[in-house]
Each structure stands twice: as C-alpha cells, then as structure tokens.
C-alpha cells in the first residue's frame, strides 16, 4: 500500500503487527481513529504504553497483577488452603469466568516438555512446592491440559510434594491420548526408503 503520510504508514504498521490483523483492517482502524477526538486517541495510547510499563507478575501465584500481589491472592474471602494449578494466565481468566472456584491459583507457565526445552526448572514448580509448606496448602487441583506432557507435569509435582496430608486431584481427564498428537509425526509404520535395495541379486538358480 502507498500512503501519502508517513504518520499513517507508521500507525498502520503498528496495528498490522497484531495477531489476525492485516494491512487492510489496520488501515480501517487508523482512519477510524483519525475521526475521533484527540482525548479518545490519547486514552488508547496511554492504556497501551502503561500496560507494558506497569504490569507485574504476582509474586505469589504468578498471575498478572497491577500490584506486588494480585487481587485474587489478596482476597481474604477466598479459600486459602485450596490451590488450582494452571498452565497460563488465560486459564485463570477462563476459570474465573465460570465463577465456580473460590480458592487460589498457581500459574506454572506451561507444562514439562524437554523436547521443547521446557524442563521443571523453566516452570514455576519450585515456588509452588515452597507455597505448600509456607501457606499450609492442603489441596491442589491440577487443571492442566489432558495431554502426555500435562500428565508428566502432574506426576512430577505429586512426587515433589513430601507432605502426605496434601491432597492432589485432577479435573476429569480422558485417556491421555493427546488431541495434539498425530501419528504421522511420532510413529512410522513403514520404511522410509532412500536407495532401493534389490529384492535379490541371486541369479544362481
């Protein structure tokens, strides 16, 4: 696209860097913003720049937070001895959306997958084990994805918990035949042939 203005070009480029936004949509947003009051556009710009500058990770549960400790951890009305273990902050949002869970959370940051360079040390597992002792947590609900790697993560955390009075439960899980798995990637049922080897070189008989 050819723009008569460098300013428009810069804004379009900014928007089109967002997931799912192409050049055409980006231009539509920019032209829309041009028609707005200056205050309105300043508000959007401020929201974006302050987001990155001021957002924190909760030092207790690793959820996103405006303060040192997040609003869920700070809520005394929530059950303090029950912790739901999730992979990402999106899982926290999804579970909060249901309004069914009244305990606390712990965000691991993923599941164990050495093939992807993610070992236990790359996840917030040590801090979870620390929390169990420090906060006298009695119940863990493992809400990680029902995959092989999710299973590994549950097994691993269970092994790391030394206090036998801590109960570990999982959400209802299907057979751990991960939906993300494809036999084509993992298993070969036939030979891959580079050079063909003759069936027999034997012409004696």
């Amino acid at each position: 696209m050819n723009f008569s203005s460098k300013l428009i070009e810069r804004a379009v480029e900014g928007f089109s860097s967002l997931p799912g936004v192409g050049k055409k949509s980006a231009l539509r947003y920019v032209l829309h913003l041009l028609k707005q009051d200056e205050d309105a556009t300043k508000e959007i710009a401020a929201a974006i720049s302050e987001l990155k500058a001021n957002i924190k990770e909760c030092d207790r549960c690793h959820n996103i937070s405006d303060t040192k400790t997040c609003s869920i951890c700070n809520n005394d009305l929530r059950k303090q001895q029950t912790v739901c273990v999730v992979e990402t902050i999106r899982d926290v949002m999804a579970i909060e959306e249901t309004g069914q869970f009244r305990g606390l959370y712990h965000v691991l940051g993923g599941v164990i997958s050495p093939l992807d360079g993610v070992g236990p040390n790359e996840l917030n597992i040590d801090s979870l084990i620390d929390r169990i002792a420090k906060e006298n947590i009695k119940e863990l609900i493992m809400a990680v994805s029902p995959t092989i790697d999710g299973d590994t993560t549950i097994y691993y955390i269970s092994k790391k918990i030394t206090d036998p009075t801590v109960s570990v439960s999982t959400l209802a899980r299907g057979i751990s035949f991960g939906g993300e798995l494809e036999y084509a990637d993992e298993v070969t049922l036939g030979r891959s042939i580079v050079g063909r080897i003759p069936y027999s070189n034997d012409n004696k008989k």
Binding site: K160, G179, L189, R191
Partner: protein, 366 residues
C-alpha cells in the same frame, strides 16, 4: 474391500490421471522410473495416510508444484466410500472420508487395510530389529486402534524421556523425579504393546508356516520367536535396573522399543544361514501371512500391492505366485512389472481376469 477409481492430481510424476480398476487383478507395466510404483503408492497413501516410500510430502508432490490431491472411490463392506487426501506444502494435510475431514488421521488406520510386498522387504529378515518392529506395528495398527494409540503415546513419552536424559548430561545434573514420572507413564502403553505383540506372534506362526510350505515346497521347519525384555521382567523394574546405564548413554535402554523377532530355519538363525532363495520364500510367506491375518481378523479384506517383486524371479515362480494370489482368498490385487508381456501372458495362461495399464512417464494407457 476394493478401490474402483483413483484420481491423481500433481502426485509425483502425474499431472492429472484417472484410473478405473478391476476388482480382481490390475497390472501396471512400463519401464523403470515411469511411475508404476507411484500408482501403488497413491493407493497405499489413501489407506495409510502416508507414502510408503518417502516420509515427507515434499517428495510426494509433483516437481515444482505446491500441492497434490488424491481421491479414491472404494467399495467397503458393500458400501461406496470416498477417501481424499489434500496436501498443500507447508500446511497441515487434510484426509477426508466421505467428505468429512479427520481430526486425527490415526483414526483412519485399519479402516482401509493394505498390504504391500516390495523388494526391500528382505530387510525384515536381514535388517536391524527396527524393521521387524515396523512389521509388527504395521500389522497390529491396522487390526487394533488401541494398539496404535498406545504406540503413539509410548513413542512420545520415550522421546521426552530421552530428551531429558540428554538435557541432564549437558547441564551436569539429574532430576530423579522427572525420570520416575516418565517411567510411570511408560508402564501402561508398554504393557499393552507387549501383550498384543506376544499374542500376535503366537497366532501368526501357523499362518506363516502354511504359506512358507506352499511357497518353498519344502517341509523344513521354520520358526519365529518373539523377543522382549518384558518376557523376563516388569518394565518398572527394568527401568530401575537400567538407571545408571540410561544416565551415561543418555537414552532409554529398556522397553518395548528394544523388541525383536528371531527367525529360524531348522533351528538355524535365518539371518546368518539362509540362502537367497530361502530368504525370498521366507519374506513372501511372511507378507502373505500378514495379508491372511488382516483379512481374517481385521474389519475387511485388505488390498494387496505387489511392487516389482517378479523382477528377479523365474517364470515358473511368478506363475506359482500369481496362481496363489489369484485364488479366492486374496482380494483385489495390484501388480507392477517392467516386462509387460511376461506378466500378461502368465495371467492369461492361469486364466485370471485382469486389467492392464501401460505406464509411460506420467501417462497411462489401457
């Protein structure tokens, strides 16, 4: 089960082609490199969701093109069914059964069973143990969806376990809890695969013996024995015993990925003592027994693909094999051969109904 029509689009050396098949015997003849094997591979692909010859779809798509499409019109259990493969390079390929795409391609395996016999099959006897496990896996996955599931799960856990052992070695540390987590996860799929393979080899043996006798015309006793560490010990225990070895070698030394089959002729190890002739008979018997087994125990009779296997055989043996295959218990069969006349002469002599396709560099005449 049979395939009545095959439509190829930019598949290997075929720009566009449509073939209509006989429900009995179909012959593809032509010079080497003209695309006979590619036609067999197209049928194999529709049944197994993958090429038998190259693992990567990069090599399956026609030169300098970016997609291919295959469509097969099947008759399965008296019902017309369509299977289509659409592969665009760099994208996830789509397999459709009756116009409904699969979420998991693994679900397709076994519904349209297929057996391919090809020159490289002698490696089942002479190659590494991996060749024999692939023979087992190919057969059992087409018979049992749960077997394939457990195999996929086992393979994935094993890769993760090996990756973590390598990672430990690199960082000079060891996390026992992680290895134990993988150990526990391996037990269930390993046990299922072990038991299924063990039962299979027991049941397979008499069928195999029957075909060996027909093909070799010999009365010598041939034997196959399933070899697995799990015959001696539970996997959990084996993994503990191999803890240090695993640590130093940075891979997993115990499990069903070490399984093998030992073959014997008159108590002698086939690999070391068989003549070329015995070897050839042995492998043919194994593959025909595989067909028989799938036809007997599977959902429907497989398609049989014979790729270039008559190349080095004398006319009498070819005739004998065709007579065997032409008998009623074998279903629809596809044969590729370089010599056009030899094959059709034999078929006429034996009195079998067949359709003949002349393959010439991506074009087909019949």
């Amino acid at each position: 089960m049979q395939i009545n029509k095959l439509i190829l689009n930019q598949f290997r050396n075929y720009e566009k082609a449509t073939l209509e098949f006989s429900d009995q015997i179909n012959c593809f003849t032509g010079l080497n490199g003209m695309g006979k094997t590619n036609l067999l591979d197209a049928i194999y692909y529709l049944c197994m969701t993958k090429s038998n010859f190259n693992q990567s779809d990069k090599h399956v798509v026609q030169h300098e093109k970016d997609f291919f499409r295959l469509e097969g019109h099947f008759l399965r259990k008296d019902k017309k069914e369509t299977v289509a493969v659409k592969a665009v390079l760099g994208k996830k390929k789509i397999i459709e059964r009756n116009e409904i795409p699969y979420k998991r391609m693994a679900e397709h395996i076994g519904l349209f069973p297929v057996v391919i016999i090809k020159p490289e099959d002698t490696l089942i006897a002479t190659g590494s143990s991996e060749e024999r496990r692939k023979f087992l896996d190919n057969t059992l996955s087409q018979l049992d969806q749960d077997y394939l599931k457990h195999l996929i799960v086992y393979t994935k856990i094993l890769k993760q376990r090996n990756a973590s052992l390598k990672d430990f070695a690199k960082r000079n540390f060891y996390d026992e809890a992680l290895i134990e987590s993988y150990n526990e996860q391996l037990v269930e799929p390993a046990q299922y695969i072990f038991e299924t393979r063990k039962t299979f080899v027991d049941h397979f043996h008499p069928v195999f013996l029957k075909y060996y006798k027909i093909i070799s015309k010999e009365q010598e006793v041939v034997n196959c024995k399933y070899v697995s560490q799990l015959l001696e010990n539970q996997l959990q225990e084996l993994l503990i015993q191999n803890k240090d070895k695993d640590k130093y070698s940075t891979r997993t030394n115990a499990g069903i990925h070490k399984d093998d089959i030992d073959f014997f002729i008159r108590d002698f190890e086939l690999k070391k003592f068989a003549s070329q002739g015995q070897l050839k008979s042995f492998i043919l018997a194994m593959k025909l027994a595989q067909y028989d087994f799938l036809a007997e125990k599977g959902s429907t009779k497989p398609i049989l693909l014979l790729d270039d296997i008559f190349d080095k055989l004398d006319t009498n043996r070819v005739k004998q094999l065709i007579e065997l295959v032409g008998r009623e218990n074998f279903g629809q069969t596809f044969i590729s051969d370089t010599g056009a006349d030899r094959l059709t002469n034999i078929l006429e002599e034996v009195g079998l109904e067949f359709r003949h396709f002349l393959v010439d560099n991506g074009t087909i005449n019949n």
